[in-house]
């Protein structure tokens, strides 16, 4: 009889994994070249979730583009927001108040815990441990509830703002969070009871996807994925932003650089984060939560009240003598209540005016005046009243109103130049690179997304392993395709 090798011809098989495979953590397509069960080559194909966030950012003011970052790494939206704000603040050159820094640090670390919980849940689920998944989501839900308490949203939070945070934290929130930090370490122990020493878990993670420190650096890995190989690189330590230089924490590192080490790193990181949150709550200083940089932030609402309060019955009136007839107000009026010919004095038809103040903000020649409590009066009467000095209250309020209109309609101008600012998000180094041409919108916005770089490491991590280990490897690098494809 002929030997078997002669009858059967073995050849490499080319199979697709994804883009819809549930274990690919999003829509990632891998083309596997396999020899039997062994991986010869892995080629990742990304881009299925591309929404053009970088390009979209170029058509929006810096303030407006903030919610886009929520939609990159939606698992830890808070960290993305913070990274963006830190970068834009550097570009603007504004300093954030201490309290806001602490609040952001708290929020960022909550996001790290939430991210690692989701990572552990899905990683364990991929490998076959269903229980951990449910337990992790129990705590993640808790964090999301806490998010809802501070900012009214659970997933896409949009909480930090350029110059601080949206709103101050409530006492109630701090107490609930403190309770969470009390409870959380015991919950981590629960997950560890389930998998840490479990023989199946060990078999599936130890010695899988080993990468040496040097190689990990060369492949551009960052975050816990890098630290699992023993490189203690953490931006929070090396280039502290927010309040990280005021809290005490360690950077856990692994030794071997396999899937198990990276898992250990993240587990320890959750404990560290818990610690950081506790320190921040204890040290939370009193003070403002928004930077005092009127040009770069929304204006305080109560200061505009003398004009904008609904009970105020102000009238807007054009002083005939001062009006140059430029027509700016005419074009801006949403009610089309202004009439006039070019180069001739314009006039407002009072019964059509909605009182929105757009014309007042638009007029460059101080021809438009606010007549306090003048609504419903005749034009002659208004002309008479318009000559009277305007109350100081109104003048002050109008300054804020003008700034608010300018901030919203035009956005603050940024000096020319470029900047790259990186922050440590749960997945690694998230960098924002802005090129500014001096206008209110970025000329170019580029995001250095850790998931993208890590997805590129898959060929290196998977080579030589079995097909089932591809899943473990996708889990261990902790990628979210929303961020990878942007």
């Amino acid at each position: 009889m002929e030997p078997v090798e002669k009858i059967f011809d073995t050849r490499e098989l080319n199979v697709n994994m994804g883009p819809q495979h549930p274990a690919t953590h999003g829509v990632l397509r891998l083309v596997l070249d396999i020899d039997g069960e062994t991986i010869v080559k892995v080629t990742p194909y990304v881009g299925y979730l591309h929404r053009g966030i970088e390009k979209l950012g170029e058509s929006m003011s810096y303030f407006q583009a903030l919610p886009l970052t929520d939609r990159m790494d939606y698992v830890s939206a808070m960290s993305n927001n913070i990274g963006y704000c830190v970068a834009v603040e550097k570009l603007y050159g504004i300093e954030v108040p201490e309290r806001a820094k602490f609040i952001r640090t708290i929020a960022g670390e909550m996001s790290r815990i939430a991210n690692h919980l989701l990572w552990l849940a899905t990683h364990a689920l991929d490998i076959g441990a269903m229980t951990v998944f449910l337990y992790c989501f129990r705590e993640r839900e808790w964090i999301l509830d806490l998010y809802e308490m501070i900012c009214g949203a659970r997933l896409t939070v949009t909480y930090p703002r350029v110059g601080g945070v949206r709103n101050d934290v409530q006492q109630e929130f701090l107490e609930s969070l403190w309770k969470f930090t009390d409870e959380f370490p015991s919950r981590i122990l629960e997950y560890e009871t389930l998998i840490d020493q479990n023989r199946i878990w060990l078999l599936r993670t130890k010695g899988i996807g080993v990468i040496s420190a040097e190689e990990a650096v060369n492949w551009g890995m960052t975050g816990p994925t890098l630290r699992g190989s023993g490189v203690p690189y953490d931006i929070r330590k090396f280039m502290p932003y927010d309040a990280y230089d005021k809290v005490d924490f360690e950077v856990p590192i692994g030794t071997v650089g396999d899937t198990y080490d990276r898992y250990r790193c993240r587990m320890l990181e959750m404990r560290q984060s818990n610690n950081i949150i506790r320190q921040c709550i204890e040290k939370l200083p009193a003070g403002p939560v928004m930077a005092d940089a009127p040009k770069f932030t929304m204006q305080p609402k109560d200061k505009m009240m003398p004009i904008t309060h609904p009970t105020k019955q102000h009238a807007f009136f054009i002083k005939e003598k001062a009006c140059k007839g430029c027509g700016m107000c005419l074009r801006a009026c949403p009610a089309k209540a202004i009439f006039g010919e070019k180069k001739k004095p314009h006039a407002i038809k009072q019964d059509m005016c909605l009182g929105c103040a757009t014309c007042y903000v638009t007029c460059k020649f101080k021809a438009l005046v606010i007549v306090p409590a003048g609504k419903g009066l005749s034009d002659e009467k208004l002309a008479e009243l318009a000559e009277a000095p305007v109350p100081e209250e109104i003048t002050k309020a109008s300054e804020y109103l003008v700034r608010q209109f300018e901030f919203v309609k035009k956005g603050p101008k940024v000096p020319e130049g470029e900047i790259y600012v990186a922050t440590e998000v749960p997945k690694g180094e998230l960098g924002f690179y802005f090129v500014s041409d001096g206008s209110a919108k970025p000329y170019r916005m580029r995001v250095r997304a850790p998931s993208f770089v890590h997805a590129g490491c898959l060929p290196r991590l998977c080579a030589g392993h079995l097909v089932a280990d591809v899943i473990a490897n996708i889990g261990t690098i902790d990628i979210v395709l929303g961020e990878c494809d942007r």
């Binding site: 509830d145 701090l174 403002p288 609904p310």
Partner: protein, 176 residues
């Protein structure tokens, strides 16, 4: 391999520990809720469906200045004067991302995000918010004290955010 490892290996100790934990959890209170029957409490200030605020005298506060429409990152607010002179205000909720920027941009406190998150429909028109629907939302979800409370707490920033308000939250010491 030490003796300890061998014992561990043959007694399945870690597996039993894990199972003991899950067994214990069987007798603790369930954390899941049966959604349509049970509802989780919503934190105040939740960013849900929009509403247009009304004055105490029942008129809309909105003056059609268009700031909300300008700041909206998804460009889903339409403010325009119709041909017949009627003010028009529409929100294409299907495109809204509930960022809350419209509330922040409005100097008049005229738009709010209510706590309503349960709205669905078979057609786009059912979900599309017109001016009358928005005003009705105010009566439904925000009328009275609730609306006042909303503006006091969630219409930000206020000058307090740029300074140090007297009763600021902080750490009050460990509770034993």
């Amino acid at each position: 391999m030490t003796v300890r490892d061998i014992i561990k290996r043959f007694t399945f100790i870690e597996i039993f520990q894990g199972m003991a934990l899950t067994l214990r959890k069987m007798f603790s209170r369930a954390v899941t809720i049966q959604y349509p029957k049970e509802r989780r409490p919503i934190a105040p200030g939740f960013r849900g469906q929009h509403a247009l605020a009304k004055n105490p005298d029942g008129k809309a506060k909105c003056v059609s200045c268009g700031l909300c429409a300008t700041i909206c990152p998804s460009q889903c607010i339409y403010v325009r004067r119709k041909e017949d002179g009627q003010e028009n205000y529409e929100v294409d909720v299907l495109r809204c991302i509930f960022c809350g920027f419209c509330v922040e941009a409005c100097p008049y406190g005229a738009i709010v995000l209510t706590e309503n998150y349960e709205y669905s429909g078979y057609t786009k028109e059912e979900i599309y918010l017109t001016r009358s629907k928005l005003l009705a939302n105010w009566d439904k979800h925000m009328a009275g004290k609730k609306g006042e409370e909303y503006f006091r707490k969630f219409w930000r920033p206020m000058s307090g955010d740029f300074g140090t308000p007297p009763a600021q939250s902080g750490f009050k010491g460990k509770k034993e």
